[in-house]
């Protein structure tokens, strides 16, 4: 029974983290492409900033993935 709850917990962590990351990076990418469309010569600079921002937006969802995977694989068995 507790294993079932752990599986559900792991699944929720992975799923909701993924949803948050997808929405955030989707909005960021949309603005990035918009910026390129307005000023194609700024492509290099915008790309650098895009990756920096992506690292920040991705941070909490990736922590959620790390903890979710840990729960699913290391806590469930033992």
């Amino acid at each position: 029974m507790e294993n079932a709850l752990l599986y559900i917990a792991g699944g929720l962590m992975l799923g909701i983290g993924a949803a948050g990351a997808a929405v955030g990076i989707g909005i960021l990418a949309a603005r990035f492409i918009e910026g390129i469309a307005r000023q194609p010569e700024m492509l290099g600079m915008l790309r650098t900033q895009f990756f920096i921002m992506m690292g920040l937006v991705d941070a909490l969802p990736i922590i959620a993935i790390a903890i979710g995977l840990y729960v699913l694989f290391a806590v469930v068995g033992g």
Partner: protein, 280 residues
């Protein structure tokens, strides 16, 4: 891997996620833990020997390489090695110039150290999962995690040091009263200072915590996926080959993550130190 236990998937994963812990066990005394439960029983003051060894070794390697480059510098005929080191230094220099607006001679060396050291530690994640722990097992070391940044102790150590520097420079540039004023008297009017303190306090504490956990989370998730794909090697020939291909693909992606996370740690450190130097 341990010969006594039956090797299950969960056992393999848990074995690879366990650090080499040295501490005072309530029953067995001072020694190395032989299992996750023993490691937990050792309490807060137990030391992860593998994290300490690899992070200090890689730090020493970084210092040795850069010192060697500095010693053999030549303006007429720069060697390829010297060019490479110069590219790295110019990269850090440009980032510092663009982001840091005050005058402080310590910021660029801090940025260089953080970037190269974290990059070296992260790159250890690309070594195939079983190689180094198997070699260590041959000489009797039960557990070995080679990536120091998958240990939250290491990442918190770095980010708390950055936090200490932030507070030191804030008080040095703005004075203790100015620093407290910045926390207590904005953004709301002065008489609402408990609210201000609460908001600004959370914002202040979230900086080192998020800095450390961002690096830890990314590297831990990457290492976890490497271990999970490595499980495929025990499933016969086809699974083995497929697992090899998957490891390769994930390693390509992880290389980007590794570089990016080192870069983000460095940039955020420069930004926080810049904020500590700002008057307004």
């Amino acid at each position: 891997m341990a010969a006594e236990e039956q090797l299950t998937s969960t056992g393999y994963i848990q074995h690879h996620l366990q650090n080499l812990t040295f501490g005072m066990h309530p029953e067995h005394g001072l020694g190395i833990a032989h299992g996750a439960q023993e490691a937990k029983d050792m309490g807060f003051w137990a030391i992860h020997l593998d994290t300490m060894f690899w992070s200090i070794f890689l730090g020493g390697l970084f210092l040795w390489v850069f010192r060697k480059a500095a010693r053999t510098v030549s303006s007429d005929v720069p060697s390829g090695f010297q060019n490479f080191i110069e590219v790295v230094i110019e990269f850090i220099d440009n980032n510092c110039r663009e982001t840091f607006t005050s005058k402080n001679n310590l910021v660029a060396p801090i940025a260089l150290t953080l970037f190269v050291w974290i990059l070296l530690q992260n790159v250890m994640d690309l070594v195939p999962v079983d190689w180094i722990p198997s070699l260590a097992g041959l000489i009797g070391i039960p557990y070995m995690k080679v990536v120091p940044t998958t240990d939250p102790n290491a990442t918190f150590g770095m980010s708390l040091s950055v936090f200490a520097l932030m507070i030191y420079y804030s008080i040095k540039v703005k004075g203790a009263g100015g620093f407290f004023g910045e926390l207590a008297f904005q953004p709301f009017p002065k008489w609402m200072f408990p609210v201000n303190l609460f908001l600004e306090g959370i914002s202040l504490i979230s900086k080192p915590v998020s800095l450390s956990l961002r690096l830890f989370g990314n590297l831990y998730a990457g290492e976890m996926i490497f271990i999970l794909i490595a499980l495929m090697y025990s499933g016969g020939f086809f699974f083995g080959v497929f697992g090899g291909a998957l490891q390769w693909a994930w390693a390509m992606f992880h290389l980007l993550i590794v570089l990016l996370q080192a870069f983000i740690f460095m940039i955020l450190t420069i930004v926080y130190l810049d904020m500590a130097h700002q008057h307004h």
